[in-house]
Amino acid sequence: MASEVVAKRSKLESVGGECKCHGKLPDDRFDKLRDVIDEYKDKPGSLIPVLHEAQQLFGCLPEDVQEFVAKGLGVPESEVYGVATFYSLFSLKPKGKWTISVCLGTACYVKGAADCLEALKKELGIDIGGTSEDGLFTLEGVRCVGACALAPVVVIGDTVYAKVKPEDIKRILAEHVEAHSTEAHAS
């Protein structure tokens, strides 16, 4: 059992060096995932909650995590893959430090969200779903975040930027990095 976990761990780390810890930290995430699976195992329809927790632990759902979940819950891997790729909140690839979500709901669209998205793409040099080269930002277009009065809305991490104009983008990104780097130093 323990050796199985170790094998999994090394496999994950070997995936193009995607794991941020680079093998330096003890990886107890599979043990934690095992606990999660045990908790949900007997409840019907628990695949989605388990995948939510797995993504929380690993940041994304790489192949061996899916395999681990499939074995744990006793469902075919194909089903896990099917679910993981169907829902937009699950990602098979690791994401940047912060996710930028540009609201593309109707109110935001009417008020110019598409221009903000273009500005972000240009500034970061990535398309929707991409991660910037420095690994800081992943760009996503999201459905309505329900803050229509503040349209157009861009959410970076947990911070909501309201009434954004394309020309604000540069400043907002810089501010965000600034604010959160000082936060990190302070703590």
Partner: protein, 615 residues
């Protein structure tokens, strides 16, 4: 003995106000009260959405009903020092109405005047994380009455008599739905709340879940008793973390107080609730797809029948209602079906919550009696269109709905009239569009959305919406062909009739309704290669009127691509033609090089002489 409270300060903590920074305001209020030493006399409450989201963060003070808008943490300190301590309201923080009159009291704000709050009765009034406050507003009294005084049949009859119709969009009679689920014999049944509010531009369900979660817990328990179910599930979309946390808290509180769990009110009836969090798929708002998702599968719909009332979650009879529908249940039980019927219209009794957004002065949540006209909502409650622009259309029902043009501003907002007009009540998203909106572009936007969210199971939706989207994209790029409109109409009708689920069947609505009311815009795009709204970049160009141009060069400086330059040799020309009386040469003017122009419109917005126009 509880201490004497002389004032209540309600801090709106709806999603809009949280985004505008209401937590900082709350902290500042608490600090100021502590400094003044009156923390024990004044109660500060974080409430659910008050509704006027564009004015956030908002603060409401009772007993006076004073309403403050756009409050900063510094303002909060002033409110405590001036209003609470000295009794002098801070006039500069009053919201201003369209006429420029500041409105001191919440009751004098036009935005609230026409509203009738049934669904949102507690939103923005109580602390959603405190069950005592819900109980103080008659909370759980309906449940007590149902469990001690009424048979399941009584409950269903009451709901049937009230004429309540499903607020999720289609408007199916709720009582009938309950009756179907009740009639089926099974060892196990489920009650489900559809809180997968996916329509872009609709956020009323979120506000109820965040502002009054106990109303859903209570109503679902009543539904469980009525149909004979002991387990309920609330399916919430993952994009609403605050709603999930408030619901979780409410369920825990309800357990603690014995209004959820075993043997409720000594009746022998037991009911429990669980939350299921979605994972980002619009199609899961469709009931059969929602059930598949709750079973841990890909959220794909299946044909009906069997209807969920016969075979739903885990193949057991299941009752599915929308959040807003449930929020109506307790008041109907307490006040009776006749009271409910006295609001709204004959065929659509009760109220409807609309999420008002887009090009409108007052955005936010409004609850009005069914049958209120669109004009009243846009102009009296919404305060009209900003910047003196003209109203063009309102989009109801999100990607499943359609547009309502200016000629139908007096339409009565209820299920059947909206459907007849080619729009749809839908979940109640109401996006206002002004003259600068291109209807073809909006239709394309919605189709892009449904195309993206199509699960791919049935051909009409998967392939049909793709072809429609391709045609629309072509039209907006100036490559429209004769016959495109007819193809769109034919395809749209076929998809409506043949798609498997609600998503596909309604996907063509935005296109069909915009063709119905704005055919001329489609024709302008196709025949004249012109976008009347000035939105489609490939069809827009700018020009400078030489007569009006004063040669100030502002536009040339603002142009990001240096596409604007002085008219070559004009000064010399002017001298040659008008030089007779020794006039000084005409001022030079500017022109736009369309090969370099990016069509950003910057020149038009900076020109002070109205010399730049769009064509």
């Amino acid at each position: 003995m509880s201490p004497f409270i002389r004032a209540h300060i309600l801090v709106c903590s709806g999603a809009g106000c949280v985004s505008s920074g209401c937590h900082g305001v709350y902290d500042s209020l608490m600090r100021a009260l502590e400094e003044e030493g009156i923390l024990g006399e004044v109660k500060v409450i974080k409430t659910g959405c008050i509704g006027s989201c564009d004015l956030g963060p908002t603060v409401l003070i009772y007993p006076d009903g004073t309403f403050y808008q756009k409050v900063t943490p510094e303002d909060a300190k002033e409110i405590v020092e001036e209003h609470i301590v000295k009794g002098r309201p801070v006039a500069r923080l009053f919201p201003r109405q369209a006429e420029g009159e500041p409105a001191e009291n919440i009751s004098s704000l036009n935005f609230f005047k026409k509203q009738v709050k049934v669904v949102l009765r507690n939103c923005g009034v109580i602390d959603p994380e405190n069950i005592y406050e819900y109980v103080a507003r008659d909370g759980y009294e309906a449940l007590a009455r149902v469990l001690t005084d009424m048979t399941p049949k009584d409950v269903i009859d009451t709901i049937k008599q009230s004429g309540l119709r499903g607020r999720g969009g289609a408007g199916f009679p709720t009582g009938l739905k309950w009756e179907f689920a009740q009639r089926v014999h099974a060892d196990e049944k489920y009650v489900v709340c559809n809180a997968d509010e996916g329509d872009p531009g609709a956020f009323m369900d979120r506000s109820v879940l965040e502002g009054d979660p106990h109303s859903i817990v209570e109503a679902m328990t009543i539904a469980g008793y009525a149909i004979g179910a002991n387990q309920g599930y609330i399916y919430v979309r993952a994009e609403y973390p605050l709603a999930v946390s408030r619901l979780t808290h409410a369920i825990e509180e309800a357990h603690e107080f014995g209004v959820l769990g075993e043997n409720l009110f000594g009746s022998g009836f037991s009911f429990d609730l669980d939350i299921r969090v979605g994972a980002g798929a619009f199609v899961c708002g469709e009931e059969t797809a929602l059930l598949a998702s709750m079973e841990g599968k890909r959220g794909m719909p299946r044909p009906r029948p069997p209807f969920p009332a016969n075979e739903g979650l885990f193949r057991k009879p299941t009752l599915i209602n929308n959040v807003e529908t449930y929020a109506n249940i307790a008041p109907i039980i307490l006040k009776g079906p006749d009271w409910f019927r006295s609001i709204g219209t004959e065929k659509s009794p009760g109220t409807k919550v609309f999420a008002l957004a887009g090009k409108i002065n007052n955005t936010g949540l409004v609850e009005v009696p069914m049958g209120t006209t669109l004009r009243e909502i846009v102009y009296e409650i919404g305060g009209g269109i900003p910047g003196g622009k003209a109203f063009k259309a309102a989009q109801t029902g999100g990607p499943s709905g359609g547009c309502i043009p200016e000629s139908l501003l007096d339409i009565s907002m209820e299920y059947d009239t909206l459907t007849k007009a080619g729009a749809m009540m839908g979940s109640g998203g109401l996006i206002i569009m002004d003259e600068d909106t291109c209807m073809v572009d909006i239709a394309k936007f919605f189709l892009q959305f449904t195309q993206d969210e199509s699960c791919g199971k049935c051909v009409p939706c998967r392939e049909g919406t793709k072809v429609m989207l391709d045609i629309l994209t072509r039209i907006t790029e100036g490559k429209g062909q004769a016959g495109d409109i007819q193809t769109l109409e034919a395809l749209g009708k076929t998809i409506k009739n043949t798609a498997l689920c609600g998503l596909g069947q309604t996907a063509p609505n935005p296109v069909l309704s915009s063709i119905r009311y704005f055919r001329n815009e489609y024709e302008a795009h196709i025949d004249e290669k012109r976008c009347p709204g000035g939105v489609c970049k490939d069809l827009v160009g700018y020009e400078i009127d030489a007569e009006k141009c004063r040669g100030c060069s502002l536009c040339a400086k603002a142009c990001p691509t240096q596409a604007i330059h002085p008219v070559a040799g004009e000064a010399a020309l002017a001298e040659a033609s008008g030089g007779e009386g020794g006039h000084k040469p005409k001022r030079r003017t500017y022109e736009i090089d369309n090969s370099k122009c990016q069509k950003c419109g910057e020149c038009m917005s900076v020109c002070r002489f109205d010399a730049v126009s769009r064509r």
